[in-house]
């Protein structure tokens, strides 16, 4: 509690100087400065309020001798009064400074000054002395300034919106032409008012306004502020307004993508449906139907993937985002829709088209064949010496990551189907978990994976298994194993538990004794929620297996 009273004297002087500066000049620069400082000022005012709460008015004036000057100046600045909750804090501070037992003329004067300031803020008594008699008129009607200003703001907003929209349709109407400067100024002046619900129609009109020139006509302070407020969910705007914002202001789009990403990483989600929900709420999949936006978002995800070294969580996020994007694209019924393959222009088109087919677009019997088709194309790209560069390799792998559900299908097929495509599928999985180009490395991984796979397949039809059997199957002769190989093996193991009858019985035991003992809970959890999600999408109702997945998830959650 003591910290609250420690409002540093330096800040006070700083803000007082600022308030004086803002009051003296009304240039565009000073107005831009106000807009930028508003959040910090609000925090500062909050701190002052917290301090004042515990003092009486005399102490307050001793502690903050300049407070009268500061509050006075700020109350006359419409940017400050119009911002978010600043007006509340200002009024509360004034309330706490009012003395209920003034001891001397100074305090009496202070009281009187506080009252006149409050009356000014609330358009009370002095209103009657308004030059055009609005106050008297409204009082005679039996209304208050509260009713008046509520309607007045709506009227002003309506007239501004009409002005902005009118300009678009009567482009030739010289009389109604709004100048770019005016739009710029209006947008800047809206910055404090963004969270005021009455102003939302004006925000939408500004965001969708397109002047004649090629330069951005809206002020950047405005665009940034709207984006920030939207990301904090303090305002609800239409999809087209947000889309317009992101299309015209790249930093906002980048911030929004990073914000989504951070949120997904930090939130404890218990299912991929939840992840998909968060992604859809962000409006980014819908916005990504615009190819420039898609490219930028994709680029950001790519960087995130590289920076985190390709962790499965990030790969899952990219996979779910892509699915949400495709759904949004299919729902979008604009005439000039781009074909999906246009979003991946630098990739081999056949590969793109093949990957774009979701497992539920094909009957399960054709999955193996389709996987082989994909693998062959990928192999061709990887092993084609003429075009191979690290970038191409990475791009192909990154493309595949978008459609990671096929990797999950590959594992499933490996365990369930009996045909000889196991080589192909293992190659695909090795590629998925380790795209690095070294042929030797890949061969080594394949060898190990094949060994584990063969051992697991031998145990597949056993009805009774023990944990040690499985551990033996999965272990390696040498203790050194590449992390990527470990991912692959784990994937095989967990799928084995789900799809084999013997594995079923020991699944829970395996999870509680082996997995929880290691530090791979997150990874296994991720695998399981991906499986649950896939089952949901494919409409797999096989009760036994769905039940098992849910039980295992419960156990992991419980332990977390």
């Amino acid at each position: 509690m003591a910290q609250h009273t420690a409002v540093p004297k330096l800040s006070f002087q700083y803000w007082l100087d600022k308030a004086v500066e803002w009051g003296q000049t009304t240039t565009l620069e000073s107005q831009q400065d106000v807009c930028l400082q508003l959040p910090k000022l609000q925090e500062f005012l909050q701190q002052i309020y917290e301090s004042l709460k515990h003092m009486n008015s005399t102490t307050a004036l001793q502690r903050f001798p300049l407070i009268g000057q500061l509050l006075g100046r700020l109350c006359w600045n419409p940017f400050v009064v119009g911002y978010d909750e600043s007006q509340k804090t200002l009024m509360w501070c004034l309330c706490y400074l009012y003395s209920n037992e003034p001891q001397n003329p100074v305090e009496l004067k202070a009281n009187s000054w506080i009252l006149s300031l409050l009356c000014h803020l609330l358009s009370s008594s002095e209103w009657g002395a308004n030059k055009v008699g609005t106050g008297t008129f409204i009082s005679a009607l039996g209304y208050t300034s509260a009713d008046y200003y509520s309607k007045l703001v709506k009227n002003i907003v309506l007239s501004l919106v009409t002005e902005l929209k009118g300009n678009q349709f009567n482009g030739l109407n010289v009389q109604g032409r709004v100048s770019d400067d005016r739009v710029n100024v209006v947008s800047l002046f809206c910055v404090p008012l963004i969270t005021l619900p009455d102003v939302t129609p004006l925000l939408e009109a500004l965001l969708t306004y397109h002047g004649g020139g090629s330069q951005e006509v809206l002020s950047s302070e405005f665009l940034e502020a709207v984006n920030e407020t939207f990301l904090k969910k303090k305002i609800a705007l239409s999809e087209s307004a947000i889309l317009s914002l992101w299309l015209r202001h790249l930093p906002s789009l980048e911030k929004a993508t990073l914000h989504l990403f951070a949120r997904l990483i930090s939130t404890q989600t218990s299912s991929l449906e939840e992840v998909a929900c968060i992604i859809k709420e962000s409006l980014l999949p819908q916005a990504a139907c615009h190819p420039p936006i898609f490219r930028i978002v994709d680029e950001i995800f790519k960087n995130a993937l590289m920076e985190t070294g390709g962790t499965p969580e990030v790969m899952t996020i990219i996979q779910v985002f892509t699915q949400c994007f495709i759904q949004a694209h299919q729902k979008d019924n604009k005439q000039h829709k781009f074909p999906l393959k246009a979003y991946f222009p630098h990739q081999q088109q056949h590969l793109v088209i093949a990957l774009l087919k979701h497992p539920f677009d094909l009957p399960a019997t054709l999955w193996s064949q389709h996987l082989k088709y994909i693998t062959d194309m990928l192999k061709a790209i990887i092993e084609d010496k003429s075009i191979r560069s690290y970038t191409d390799l990475f791009e192909s792998w990154f493309l595949f990551v978008h459609f990671g559900e096929w990797a999950d299908i590959a594992v499933e097929q490996l365990l369930k189907s009996e045909d000889e495509s196991s080589d192909t599928l293992l190659w695909l999985l090795a590629f998925y978990y380790n795209p690095h180009s070294d042929k030797e490395q890949r061969t080594q991984i394949l060898v190990e994976a094949r060994a584990v796979y063969d051992r697991l397949m031998m145990l597949f039809s056993c009805t009774t298994l023990s944990i040690t059997d499985l551990q033996a199957a999965a272990s390696t002769k040498t203790d050194k194993r590449q992390p990527c190989t470990k991912h692959l093996v784990r994937h095989l193991l967990i799928s084995f538990l789900l799809f084999s009858s013997g594995g079923h019985k020991i699944a829970q035991e395996f999870i509680s004794h082996v997995i929880l003992a290691s530090n791979t809970t997150n990874e296994v959890f991720g695998l399981l929620i991906r499986t649950a999600y896939r089952f949901n999408q494919l409409g797999i109702k096989n009760e036994r297996i769905v039940k098992l997945v849910n039980e295992l998830l419960q156990e992991l959650r419980f332990m977390d």
Binding site: Y98, T134, G142, T144, K151, L152, F189
Partner: protein
Amino acid sequence: METLLWQVEQLAGLLAVSRSGQVRDWDPPTLDRALQWGRYFQHLHGRFRAHPRLRAALGQRLRRGQQGPPLGFGHLGRCPELLGLALLGNRALPPAACHRLLRSLLLPPSDQATPGPCSLSLLARRRAAAQLLLPPSPAQARPEELEQEQSLRTEAQLLLSRLQEDEEEEQGPAGVLEDLPRPRVYWVLAALLLEQAGDNAGREGASWAEHREGPRPAAAVLSWLLGDPGRLSVFCRLLPGSLLVALSARYPQLGTPYLHLLTSWGSRLRYDPLSGQWASSRCPSEDELSWEELRERFSCFMRGPAPLREAALASLKNLKIQDGDFEVCGLSVWTDLLLEMDAPL
């Protein structure tokens, strides 16, 4: 019921006291009681809003023995704000009571027993918003004009609300309109009539109920205006010709009386041969119209829609004939006007 009616009758007194010097004797408990009454009235409003007969009874009691602007049922609902703002602006309120008022009115309710109205911070914010959004570009009309336009429009909307509230209690518009400050009320009425006409035009396909709510207040207001010749005269004298023609276009019942007024004003002009101009008679009253203004007003008619233009022309021609059908200037004001209007004689 009688208790209720008696209580409601106290509202007028409460509001009057809150604006007067009597509050200098108030201590914090008295202030609390006053604010409590305010909240109680608001509660009554909420309870009886959906009961027309009770509402009418309460409204009637409110208006009993009232001087000045009449109260309505709506006052009950707005009481906390009316009271709070009136007290805030009342310098006679002693510091202790004022201190209590500020705490109740403005501070967050967490440490209060009964919460005060929280709409006041929104009021401050909206006022700032109006300041920020109102100034227009230099290319447009003067800033005062735009502000005035928006002000009038808002006042007209509030007036309309009040008239609709009164209508629900079967009170005609006269009660309210009589006591509104002149001349502002005429400007506001004009704004109201314009807005109503605009709304109706857009509501052609609207439901019958919506259509009904539109014209009724406008018609009532118009008949109040037209009901008294003095009132109409002031109205027409005050407002600019262009505005009156716009109104006449949408409300034909206004056009004819206005034309008559113009002709009666015009017929008072006398020709002064020395200056070669038409001038008002030697003892000017407030209704006296100058030649220039008469000409300006008639030319507004000429710029208006066809029916009005025809009517004005017909009127002028008739009067010219009555005056003797002169073609020469200086003999009949109507001849001269027709010449100015560049119309075929």
